[in-house]
């Protein structure tokens, strides 16, 4: 690995990203809307007098939520958890936007050929492109988590805030989010090698959100209350997928393949 080469690619991608209003806007809108919506929704629920919930805690909820003791707080905890699942989706959505543009853009502008005529190793090029998608997406997602929890601290009672800070969430955002972002970036690079429209490439990556949404739905249904054990299994799954897609991406991302098979 040549660090200077990877850094050069990373820097150029970042520069282009900043100039590409459409992509920059797409990247900003989704997290901003989610954080705002999380804070607004919890603020609205928290303002409803506890009396209107008549103190009942719905029976179908996870025991950890029922343990909060108040109907309103249990609902707040449930909603807060749902928003955190959705925030995880950002780690999947953003890298595919960036990476798809980074690859399809080069294909359409025909900039890959002069690039491939330089000494850069294709693995460094692949790494640079991945990092260019993974780093901003990870940072934005993590910032989203911090802002959301800060918002909850303002809108929710401390017991609910404590739930959103329970070990599994910082671990998820700290460690699993980069792996998720990597999966999304690699998958869109693989998809981009076959299509000439970034949106199609992004669309093909869309199926990756299914497990995360599935986890969110299970938790609404009271079947799942995410803990470190679940997260470890999830992370293992993501790493296995990461490895598989990385293998595919490296194969597709060779000079020969790019020049002679990417159309």
């Amino acid at each position: 690995m040549n660090v200077r080469h990877v850094r050069a690619v990373l820097r150029r991608e970042a520069l282009e990203l900043r100039r590409n209003r459409l992509v920059a806007l797409t990247m900003a809108i989704l997290p901003t809307a989610l954080v705002a919506s999380a804070v607004a929704t919890t603020a609205f629920i928290a303002r409803t007098p506890e009396g209107e919930f008549r103190g009942d805690v719905p029976a179908g909820l996870a025991p950890q939520l029922r343990a909060l003791g108040h109907g309103r707080d249990a609902l707040l905890g449930l909603v807060a958890d749902q928003y955190l699942y959705m925030l995880l989706l950002i780690a999947l959505a953003l890298p595919s936007t960036i990476a798809a543009h980074a690859i399809v853009g080069e294909k359409v502008e025909r900039t890959l050929e002069p690039l491939l005529a330089t000494p850069i190793a294709t693995s460094d090029l692949l790494l640079g492109k991945c990092l260019a998608a993974v780093v901003p997406a990870t940072l934005i997602t993590q910032l989203g988590y911090v802002l959301t929890v800060a918002g909850f601290a303002w809108t929710c009672p401390p017991s609910v805030v404590a739930l959103t800070c329970r070990p599994v969430w910082p671990l998820a955002f700290g460690l699993v989010v980069p792996a998720l972002a990597m999966l999304s970036a690699l998958a869109s690079i693989v998809a981009s090698s076959r299509v000439n429209d970034p949106r199609t490439a992004q669309g093909l990556v869309g199926f990756l959100v299914i497990p995360v949404i599935g986890a969110g739905i299970s938790s609404v249904m009271g079947r799942l209350f995410l803990d470190v054990g679940h997260l470890a299994w999830g992370a293992l799954g993501v790493l296995v997928l990461d490895t598989a897609v990385l293998w595919l991406a490296v194969k597709l991302f060779s000079r020969e393949a790019i020049l002679t098979r990417w159309k």
Partner: protein, 318 residues
Amino acid sequence: MIRAQGLGRTFGRFVAVESLDLDVAEGEVFGLLGPNGAGKTTTVRLLTGVIEPTSGTATVAGHSVRDAPEKVRAQVGILTETPGLYVRLDAVENLRFFGELAELSGLERRIQEVLSRLDLWHRRREPVGGWSKGMRQRLAIARAVLHAPKVLFLDEPTSGLDPEAARSVRALVSELRAEGCTIVLCTHNLDEAERLCDRIGILKTRLLRTDTPARLRREFAEPRTVVRLGAPWTEDLEARIAAWPFVRSFASAADGGEGRTLRVALAAPDLDTPALVRALVEAGASVRSVADETPSLERVYLDLVGAAHDDAAGGGAS
């Protein structure tokens, strides 16, 4: 500087380049001349270590394209068929990126030097997306020479440019040539090849001929006498023409209709033309017209490429 031996590349069953033998000396400008699809770009990709040969090998700037393609890539500069610039970046940012990949020291100074030289320095802060084709091509050349490569590959540097821009690109190539750059220039423009190159290789999947423009021209450019004949034409007549003492060589071709066009190289054109006409008439041929022809390099090229085409077509049918 470049030595290729039996270099070839196939894509599946399609042969793009076949058994290419090539020697390019330091400081030489070598023209690869061939029609579209002749394999020029493929040859450049092979010689720059971008794709692997399927047969043979080549050494470029002291490194084997098979064993050390990354070293080859570090030593060569290449102007690809399309300039392939980052349109959202400005000229300096475009060059800086490639300079970083080449790990140049004193990069900013070098960028200024190259941009000034190509008369682009005053436009350095504009995104190149808004530039004219000619300016983009100049910037692409700037990028190709940024790291002072040992060999420069220019793949159709003037195609698609307006005459003015093409002229400025040619002037630039002339300058580089004068400075002693080793250059491989792909083109399908004969005039360009003739003006810019020390030697020309005529390529059509295989390298059909390699020589200096002057020698190619001299060898093929001996004046011919072109005689157009009406019917009838017999094989017998062909044999008799070949035997006439004043005929050094000749070619005959059907001219579309019943007739025939003869291209005859005479021992002494001024003296022998009347003799040729007389002999033809006596042999029973109906002479329709007689003219002198000084073939251009274009004729040479078309003959060679046409013959290669016929060969290929014949080979495929049998």
